[in-house]
């Protein structure tokens, strides 16, 4: 008979100090990571606000582009960005959520679906310049939209589509099977179950993912450069087929000029961009909270 060594309680109690020390070290590491990110963010914000805030004025918001920095404003870019997002948000939401619903609720889980799934995930990592080239080929040239709001909006929608699809899929997958069963058990059709049970439950999650995606669309510059969005625009668009400029284009243009005043204007432009982002995200958070407080 082999002698079985018994568990020694005293030894286990003696190890508690060591385990607690490890506990503290790990907590410290995570805190350091958070602190590092926060400090970088604060430095960035302080730098931009101190440089740009003096240039923020009603005139800055009301003026069009100008050769003279004291007369240059951001009006065309703010309005242009709003127009562009008015194209991006509905088109990316409809195609993104639609694709996610199809893949999660309708598609058979076979090799083809897995292949599509893998490609969607990979698309999220494709450089935005490539999407710009795609937009240039398809929307600007083939469909003949030119460098219009529509062409830019669709290009940006394509860019953010993979992120929205993946986020919406995660949210749809997180809907408990039991409540879907409850709906089917009452004789509901698939669409009734999706529209009345799955989507309301998944909406907060879909919105959280979409907020990030749309924020990216507001800030992206490269695809707009590739499809030839102008930077010097002295008029407001009156429809989606008009030419326009957007905030990141305007900022990019100002930073590449030699005069220091334009660099300061760029900083002021970044502040405006941040405010637009905060407003957009607040709306999304507000919608999300309304749906969560059921």
């Amino acid at each position: 008979m082999e002698k079985v060594e018994r568990i020694n309680s005293e030894e286990m109690v003696g190890r508690i100090d060591g385990r607690l020390a490890k506990n503290k070290v790990v907590k410290g590491l995570f805190f350091a990571a958070t602190a590092f990110t926060s400090i970088i963010l604060i430095v960035l914000l302080v730098r931009i606000i101190s440089q740009g805030a003096p240039y923020l004025s009603w005139d800055f918001l009301q003026n069009f582009a100008s050769r003279r920095p004291e007369q240059a404003g951001i009006k065309a870019a703010v309005i242009g960005t709003i127009w562009m997002m008015a194209v991006v948000i509905p088109s990316a939401a409809i195609f993104g959520v639609g694709t996610a619903i199809y893949l999660e609720e309708y598609a058979k889980k076979n090799a083809v679906t897995r292949w599509i799934q893998m490609n969607i995930s990979n698309l999220a990592g494709v450089p935005s310049v490539v999407f710009g080239l795609l937009g240039l080929t398809i929307f600007v040239r083939l469909f003949g939209f030119g460098n219009s709001i529509l062409a830019a909006g669709f290009t940006m929608a394509l860019l953010v589509l993979p992120v929205i699809i993946v986020a919406a899929q995660e949210a749809i997958r997180a809907v408990p099977g039991e409540i879907k069963e409850a709906s089917y058990g009452l004789g509901a059709t698939k669409w009734q179950t999706i529209s009345r049970v799955v989507l309301p439950y998944a909406l907060p999650g879909i919105l959280t993912g979409s907020i990030l995606a749309f924020s990216r669309a507001v800030g992206e510059t490269a695809p707009l450069v590739v499809i030839g969005i102008p930077t010097f625009v002295a008029f407001l668009p009156s429809g989606i087929f008009d030419s326009f400029t957007a905030l990141p284009m305007q900022i990019y243009n100002w930073t590449s000029r030699p005069q220091i005043e334009f660099h300061n204007l760029a900083a002021a432009g970044i502040i405006v961009l941040l405010v637009v982002l905060i407003l957009m995200n607040s709306v999304a958070v507000w919608i999300r909270n309304r749906f969560q407080s059921r």
Partner: protein
């Protein structure tokens, strides 16, 4: 041709009017992929009976009850053959829409699964998906169903509050009420008390006794005492087969098969 077929069916039913079947399962087999989960099931389930299905874990009892309203369709890779007739119509027939079957046959699940909506909306859901929009009808049905599930007195002051605020037992009775709102013919219950405490379990059992006046009830349970207390007939499943199906008294006091005897006397399972 079609007319005579219908007539002869009617004659058939009237001659057996004392023994009306809601479900007649004939040589039914079911596979999950390669796994043969139901083996040649033959069961006749009578109207207004409480039929209990007992058996050890993995014996196919849940699979069978989920087949009765074709919830099993939601599992990928399921194959069936044979037939299950619901009031003379084969539920596997393409012409018998699952939406119709599930409207006539309600289901209560193992875990209480109310929607993340108010108590009122939980019950109104079934009516709304079937196109009932009249507020008054919906209001009356909500009250009637909650009374029918013995829940009205407990929740009448807060029917517009979230259903998740109810206790587990109340949630399960809400799920029964949700089922009753569609005035089903049969109610399937898949281990409805397995997630509940003894007091809530007792309330559901009492409720089942009241409901059997109006509905045919088929209940899966792993609790043999429960089957003995509430059912008229009991089917004992083992390894995907029906070992024995008889009056509950007979199954528990004088079973014909030694395996049934072993199971109910607690020798396995």
């Amino acid at each position: 041709m079609a007319l005579t077929a219908v007539n002869s069916k009617k004659d058939n039913q009237s001659t057996q009017s004392e023994e009306v079947l809601v479900y007649n399962t004939k040589n039914c087999n079911l596979w999950y992929g390669d796994h043969h989960a139901l083996k040649n099931i033959n069961l006749e389930i009578k109207e207004k009976d409480v039929t209990a299905i007992i058996g050890p874990s993995g014996c196919g009892k849940s699979t069978y009850i989920k087949t009765l309203n074709r919830m099993i369709d939601l599992v990928p890779g399921v194959k069936t053959n044979g037939s299950i007739e619901y009031r003379g119509r084969d539920i596997f027939n393409k012409d018998f829409l699952v939406e119709e079957l599930r409207t006539r046959v309600g289901m209560v699940f193992q875990k209480p699964n109310p929607f993340p909506k108010s108590i009122y909306e939980n019950i109104a859901f079934g009516l709304k998906i079937h196109g009932i929009k009249n507020k008054q009808i919906i209001n009356e049905t909500v009250e009637k169903s909650l009374r029918g599930a013995a829940l009205w007195d407990e929740v009448k002051d807060r029917i517009h509050e979230p259903a998740y605020g109810l206790s587990g037992g109340q949630q399960q009775r809400l799920c029964i009420a949700r089922c009753l709102a569609l005035e089903p013919d049969v109610i399937l219950m898949d281990e409805p008390t397995s997630a509940l405490d003894p007091v809530s379990t007792l309330k559901i059992e009492e409720l089942i006794q009241e409901l059997k006046e109006q509905y045919s009830i088929i209940i899966v349970t792993h609790n043999m005492q429960q089957a003995a207390r509430i059912s008229d007939k009991t089917a004992f499943f083992l390894n995907g087969e029906v070992v024995e199906f008889d009056a509950t008294d007979t199954i528990f006091n004088n079973p014909a098969d030694s395996r049934t005897n072993d199971y109910i006397s607690g020798r396995f399972g």
